[in-house]
């Protein structure tokens, strides 16, 4: 069992609308996988189901060989499967340091330990090392609400990795980040994760990012997987070209118009 995540026949419908169907994915250790697809293709729904945010209609999800179906996000987080968000979910009124200190506090304490003072010298050292890892030192004492978007994204990811997760799911890590910044920020993220040997699965619209950082691509279209292959291969896949990359859009529209005429 070298598979970190095993998803079998996953389905999700909202009333009559099918958001995901027939989803089968196997993720190996230390793989870096990109999930691509147009808006509404079911990418975020997939992440939401795997992390326990919404229950699938049917199918099974196994993490490290154990079923995680029906578990709450907090339980799945504790098992070592965490996620980040399109819109960073941080404690806006607090500083970067305090955000991370609490994140480590929650990760390290349980039961009566939760009543021990949060700020300890030992934890400060841990937090500062983590801040260093994500290269946000200069923002350490700034409130999260005042951070530039890219730094806030880094903070979000830094908070999601305090438990040293086995598998991390990133939901559009570069959305809202300027073109000049995106490679720099992705380098920081991917280096930090490689250091921890984290398996990564991320949703991405930007094909430059996908081609640069990802070894395997899973393409979604209308709730189904239309392609699951090595990056270079996937980029040449006719279905991916048509439904995700939109390169055949002109032809598709033209034939549609002919049909109407």
């Amino acid at each position: 069992m070298s598979s970190v995540l095993q998803v079998t026949d996953l389905e999700k419908s909202f009333g009559g609308v099918i958001a995901a169907s027939n989803i089968n994915i196997s993720v190996g250790e230390q793989e870096i996988i990109g999930i691509i697809g147009a808006n509404g293709a079911g990418k975020t729904t997939f992440v939401n189901m795997v992390t326990g945010y919404m229950p699938p209609t049917s199918g099974s999800i196994a993490f490290m060989g154990e079923s995680i179906l029906g578990l709450q996000p907090r339980d799945i987080t504790k098992l070592g499967l965490t996620r980040t968000f399109q819109i960073p979910q941080v404690f806006l009124s607090e500083t970067v340091f305090d955000n991370l200190t609490l994140a480590f506090g929650i990760a390290e304490q349980s039961g009566w330990g939760l009543f021990i003072p949060l700020h300890t010298e030992e934890r400060t050292v841990t937090v500062d090392a983590h801040i260093e890892r994500y290269q946000i030192r200069e923002y350490r004492d700034m409130a999260a609400s005042a951070l530039p978007q890219g730094v806030r994204k880094l903070l979000d990811i830094a908070m999601a990795t305090v438990r040293r997760p086995k598998l991390l799911m990133l939901d559009e890590p570069t959305s809202g980040i300027s073109i000049e910044e995106k490679f720099g920020i992705m380098d920081i993220i991917m280096n930090a994760l490689a250091e921890e040997k984290t398996t990564v699965l991320f949703i991405e619209h930007d094909m430059e990012i996908v081609e640069r950082y990802v070894s395997r691509v899973i393409a979604f279209y209308q709730g189904e997987i239309i392609c699951d292959a090595a990056t270079a291969e996937a980029m040449q896949d006719p279905k991916v070209k048509e439904f995700v990359l939109g390169q055949d859009k002109y032809n598709a529209e033209a034939s549609g118009n002919n049909g109407h005429a």
């Binding site: 996000p73 979910q89 609490l102 009543f115 003072p117």
Partner: protein
Amino acid sequence: MKGLFDKTFWGLTIGLIALLILNFFLADWLRGIGLQSIARGMVALGLLVLWRTGLISFGHALFFGFGAYAAALLQRIGINDFFVILIVGTAASGLLAYGLGFLLRQYRAIYFALLNLAFSMILWGVLANLEVLGSTDGIGVRPPSYLGIELEGEANQMVLFALAIIFTYLVAVATNLYLRSTLGYMTMAVRENEIRVEYLGYSAERAIHMKYIISGLVAGFGGVVMAFAVGHVDPDSMAYWPISGDFVFITILSGSGNVAAPLIGAMVYELIRSYAFEYAPQVWQLIMGGSLLLIIMFLPDGLWSLTERFKRDKA
């Protein structure tokens, strides 16, 4: 152990020693005001714990009344020891909070506030209608015994006051310690972002439940002190909704900056009320309302924010 001995701890300790010394010189009526301040201040401290989470309760008289009646009823069944009554009364309120917490932890904002109000009015209704609990007349509370020692008059007042401030000190120190713990910092976390709390691996509802229990315990403690301070418990002055309003008033007056704030706020509240009642019996409510208005307009973060203003000026 930097955790325990912070500025607040020393501040509280100095306050405790000062009050213990002052106890020997205070006039009896001032001691009465002191006890009532402590009682109300404790409930406001309970509200502070919730308020930092972004929750407000319009029904904390529920725990106040429950603690007070628990004290009175314990005396009725023959238990008269101060320490036993204080601990059992406080625990009873905590237990009530534990039970109700399962429902309340699912609610936020105005729903949380009003659901508390609803429960407090249920308690009021029960107390006001049950003959065995004295209905609207309530029950008298005798001076307690202290480990078998019975005291009368001023001696009792003096010992009661001393013990009340010692226990209040312990509760305040414990609450301060709690607020600085991982669980305590979750007050901020739950207020700011519940989704993140879940994805860090803790249940936001559970954190709220814990806060609710602590809040109920502290408010119940206040109720027991009040029962002894006035020597009488009745539904209208222990569990009726304007009583909950007083606690919210004190919380706004005090601010949520420090565990000492509600205690100071309660004393100021008590003084304003006493003097307003004394010198302007016709319009004392107008004076109370006016003070609340002034606080909201000029000190939106309560009296405690004056200390921060002072610190800033000095810097």
